[in-house]
């Protein structure tokens, strides 16, 4: 589904240039759950941001199914993103002024889904995520685990082909972390492709494939057999 070739990304400040991605090649198949690991500053978040069209690389190619995404203009990128991708962040990135229901509804509004349909979709996902009794609450009124559930619900409500997760358990204790990981697995089992950046090998063990990055290079790739077998 995803074909990334020779991707380069350089950060420039007044004094120094930092190469964050240095000729990355990466293929992701539909229905796969891929973890990206590596030390701080290795470029994993940058890679995720580029994959999510949140950032632009200097050069290379990024094909999603058959579309070359790096040639799109801002508006096309934004349209492509909202139709095909969902995001889960370490710090949840919920909007404090909106309720749980409204937070989840937001991507549907931007996708111009009619109101009745929006209501149906949001209620469906709220039920699935087991947060029905929280739908009128504001984010600050929820625990971290609950907030991340809302964030996941928000990422899924548009039924995206690809979910990108940036350290989804980074701000959670282990029991809440496991809950979220199980949620992502369930999701993956229903066919959603997931790419996740993580520090934790525990979290990575939930995925089919683990890619190790260092200094902007892919240094190793490991198939997670247990999980793959399970899948088979």
């Amino acid at each position: 589904m995803i074909k990334i070739e020779n991707l380069e990304k350089v950060y420039k400040t007044e004094e120094i240039e930092t190469t964050a991605l240095n000729g990355i090649n990466l293929h992701v198949k539909e229905g796969e759950f891929v973890s990206i690991m590596g030390p701080s500053g290795c470029g994993k978040s940058t890679l995720l941001n580029v994959m999510g069209l949140l950032d632009k690389p200097e050069s290379g190619s990024y094909k999603f199914i058959d579309t070359e995404l790096l040639k799109l203009n801002d508006r096309e990128r934004s349209n492509f993103r909202k139709r095909n991708m969902g995001f889960v962040f370490q710090n949840f990135n919920l909007i404090d002024e909106l309720t749980v229901f409204e937070n989840i509804e937001l991507p549907l509004i931007y996708n111009k889904v009619p109101a009745t349909e929006r209501k149906r979709l949001v209620n469906e996902i709220i039920e699935r995520m087991n947060i029905v009794n929280r739908s009128g609450h504001f984010p600050q009124q929820l625990s971290g685990g609950q907030q991340q559930r809302v964030a996941v619900a928000r990422a899924l409500v548009t039924k995206p082909k690809l979910v990108l997760a940036d350290e989804p358990t980074g701000n959670l204790d282990s029991s809440h972390g496991n809950e979220v990981m199980e949620l992502l697995c369930e999701l993956n089992e229903t066919g959603t492709t997931i790419v996740m950046v993580t520090h934790s090998s525990h979290d990575a063990s939930f995925s089919n494939r683990i890619i190790n990055l260092k200094d902007g290079h892919v240094i190793s790739e490991k198939i997670n057999k247990g999980r793959t077998e399970e899948l088979i």
């Binding site: 934004s78 993103r81 909202k82 990135n93 404090d96 937001l106």
Partner: protein, 783 residues
């Protein structure tokens, strides 16, 4: 500690040069506007304050009957009679209305018209103690051939030398010996004086109420008690028994410093200011300053995000709230002081604009009362520092260190509300200004296009200086009429725009005819003025009886019920010849008064102004010819005015107000936009993460612009909802002072609202656009 604070504050200001410049500039514009208006208001309120006696000097005025107007002159006999019975009266000084005329003063070949050589009592300088440079006040007006000159007048004839003992010729006849020279006072006066002679009449009996009378009263007497005592004394005077019509009269008193701004009498030769305009300008300049302070606060808070970390570190290191407030106040105070210095420069640079507009000669550099000004400005500055710096200091010092250091210093609802309120106040003021400007402009246009009831174009006016030429005018008139380009020639005493007026009370068939204004004219007056008869006809030389006839205006017909009397006899045995349309005489504040026109003759006033209707072409040649003809009759300098120019004086203050308001409105709007810009920038900074999240979820630039604009538009719409009724009340109040006024329509309100909304959308969008367009990852990294 203070030195450290100062150092950090200065470094911080320097680091954020752009912001500091914006902040200081906004405040200095507000301050400069305020200082300029303050100078103007101080000047308006300083009339006659040079005189240490001023508050104990009262000018008398009289209402002859309860329903009549209050006249600022009174009989000469009144003051001596009052002084005899009331020990509170220390002295009095009077001048005679016929001594107020312009005089041609000559020394050898040096001939100059001097406008205000006043005939006064010799006691005058006890009431008005001018500082004599040459001569002695007590001996200066002992005889009728002495003249006291102001320094300026003296220098016109004698240069810097001592002129005492030298002679001057007045109006080509009488010789005067200069007996003293005084220094012009350093504050303006309600009457203009260029010099003094002894007054020409001792009094003319109780029937001649043409003396302007000032009483010097003992220190500490209350005005109301004094007025009561004066009226009681007046009613006890023996003359009341002889002249019963005096019984209905009531005496009024006005303290000299109040005459200029608060005088109430009609027919007043004194200069008159407009207290309403002075207070209005003070109010609006105060508002301008408040807006500038609000702006300063908003800009400081907008900038505070950058200083939150510094504050957090200071708190962790042990700074108390008080330390922090002092620190931030130092920061604000530095900016305020720089703004003040800049404001002085701006005020001095733009003072000529105000001087030009208001016909003044004010300057900061040689201001007559610097002590007072410094005190006023210091008080205002203290208020500005507290107003402008206080809230932001409080706001900044209130950050919680842990949150701040973690990077979480987003909105607290309280401060957000405060800032929203501040920006709303700015927009309320800006909208009120815009509406006021539009209504003032509408009214000024209305005034200028008002049908004044006569044709003011191409009418030349000059004064007859020799009384004999008035009496034998016919012959000169024929000569003037023959000049090529002259269409008609006549004379009049009170041409339109002159505020003085003869007002008479008579009886006709047992009915009282009160408050009739009488204008003395010559034949052809209505032709010169373009005032055709509405009923009957105007005066014509073909009808010999017209010289004792009378022409009335529509208001007189209405007031006295003259519809059926046209063509028959009325007061003073005069036949009503015809009716003319009402015309505007005194200005737009006063409705047309019942007026009668009579031909100069026995028992009328003299019509001493020649008026000529002239054709539009070859003006210069025509005027040269008129000058030649007139100078062959009168050996004085020939001076003339145009009717349209002199009439413009009745509304000139409103034209000025319009221009001044124009400036005010633009300055206020720019400051409000600056405030909006800063708050928008602050909001965008605060909402960067949210904007990023929304973009990640699919929001486009348009969605983000809409989102941020919505918040501001709600504020501006609320501000408009408050401003519209406020502006309506203010402007309808102001308009109610005019007899001729425009109607208030919905348009100024609508236009001001639309403008404020449009400005908001443009400003906020400009500020938001960059963030809305940025890559979402930049916004998310922000945390």
């Amino acid at each position: 500690m203070f030195r450290l604070n100062l150092k950090i504050a200065l470094r911080n200001l320097w680091k954020n040069k752009g912001y500091t410049a914006l902040n200081i500039f906004g405040l200095s514009v507000g301050l400069a506007g305020f200082i300029m208006i303050l100078l103007f208001a101080n000047n308006e309120k300083s009339y006659d304050t040079w005189n240490p006696n001023a508050k104990n000097i009262y000018r008398l005025s009289i209402k002859w009957a309860p329903d009549e107007e209050e006249y600022s002159s009174s009989p000469a006999e009144l003051a001596p009679a009052l002084k005899e019975t009331l020990p509170e009266i220390l002295d009095y000084g009077r001048f005679y209305v016929w001594d107020m005329k312009q005089r041609l003063v000559s020394k050898g070949k040096n001939e100059i018209y001097v406008d205000h050589i006043m005939g006064v009592d010799s006691s005058w300088f006890k009431l008005f103690p001018y500082k004599f440079i040459y001569g002695e006040a007590s001996k200066a007006l002992l005889s009728g051939n002495q003249v006291v000159l102001s320094q300026k007048t003296s220098e016109q004839f004698f240069g810097k030398t001592n002129p005492v003992g030298q002679t001057l010729q007045v109006d080509k006849e009488k010789q005067y010996i200069v007996s003293g020279v005084y220094e012009e006072p350093n504050t303006p006066e309600h009457m203009e004086f260029d010099g003094f002679i002894k007054k020409s009449s001792k009094g003319d009996g109780w029937n001649n109420g043409n003396f302007f009378t000032y009483l010097l009263i003992k220190e500490g007497i209350d005005k109301h008690t004094l007025k009561k005592k004066i009226n009681q004394a007046f009613q006890r005077m023996p003359v009341i028994k002889e002249k019963t019509w005096l019984k209905t009269a009531e005496v009024f008193i006005t303290p000299v410093p109040d005459i200029y701004l608060h005088g109430t009498s009609a027919q007043d030769p004194a200069k008159r200011g407009n207290a309403v305009i002075v207070n209005m300008l003070l109010l609006f300049s105060g508002l301008l300053l408040v807006i500038a302070c609000i702006n300063f606060t908003n800009l400081s808070i907008a900038q505070s995000v950058k200083r939150a970390k510094e504050t957090g570190v200071r708190k962790v290191l042990g700074a108390g709230k008080r330390n922090l407030i002092t620190y931030f106040l130092t920061d604000s105070a530095i900016q305020c002081i720089v703004a003040l210095l800049l404001a002085f420069v701006l005020a001095e640079v733009f003072m000529p604009v105000l001087n030009n507009l208001m016909d003044l000669h004010l300057s900061l550099l040689n201001y007559e009362n610097p002590g007072k000004l410094i005190l006023q400005i210091s008080v205002v500055m203290l208020a500005v520092v507290i107003l402008a710096g206080g809230y932001s200091s409080f706001f900044l010092s209130n950050y919680e260190p842990v949150k701040v250091l973690k990077g979480n210093f987003s909105r607290s609802t309280g401060s957000l509300w405060m800032r929203k309120t501040l920006i709303s106040v700015q927009f309320i003021v800006a909208t009120v200004f815009m509406v006021s400007l539009m209504i003032i402009r509408q009214q000024v246009t209305y005034i200028q296009n008002q049908d004044v009831g006569f044709n003011k174009d191409h009418v030349l006016i000059f004064k007859i200086r020799n009384g004999e030429n008035r009496v034998n005018f016919d012959q000169i008139k024929r000569r003037l009429e023959k000049i090529n380009g002259v269409e008609a020639v006549s004379r009049v005493n009170y041409y339109p725009g002159v505020k003085g007026m003869q007002v008479i009370g008579r009886e006709f068939n047992g009915q009282s005819v009160q408050n009739l204004s009488v204008v003395t004219v010559d034949f052809n007056y209505f032709q010169v003025m373009g005032m055709p008869a509405q009923t009957g006809r105007v005066f014509s030389e073909q009808f010999g009886t017209d010289s004792t006839g009378i022409v009335v205006n529509e208001s007189a017909v209405k007031k006295y019920g003259l519809q059926k009397l046209i063509g028959s006899k009325w007061i003073e045995d005069r036949t009503i010849v015809g009716v003319v349309k009402d015309h505007i005489q005194k200005g737009m504040e006063t409705a047309a008064e019942p007026t009668a026109f009579v031909i100069e003759g026995r028992g009328t006033n003299g019509a001493e102004n020649v008026v000529l209707k002239i054709k539009g072409q070859h003006l210069q040649e025509t005027i040269a010819e008129i000058k030649k003809t007139w100078e062959s009759v009168e050996p004085f300098l020939f001076q003339y005015t145009w009717l349209d120019q002199s009439f413009a004086n009745v509304y000139v203050q409103y034209v000025r107000l319009d221009k001044l308001f124009n400036i005010f409105t633009y300055v206020t709007l720019s400051i409000a936009v600056l405030g909006l810009f800063s708050l928008a920038s602050f909001t965008v900074q605060e909402r960067t993460r949210e904007i990023g999240v929304r973009k990640v979820l699919g929001a486009e630039t348009g969605d983000i612009l809409q989102l941020v604009n919505k918040g501001f538009l709600i504020l501006v719409i609320i501000a408009n909802l408050i401003a519209v009724p406020l502006a309506y009340i203010l402007s309808s109040n102001w308009l109610s002072g005019f007899a001729y006024r425009t109607t208030i329509t919905v348009w100024p309100f609508l236009a001001a609202s639309i403008i404020s909304v449009a400005i908001t959308i443009v400003t906020v969008s400009l500020q938001t656009y960059k963030t809305a367009r940025a890559k979402p990852v930049d916004a998310l990294k922000y945390e």
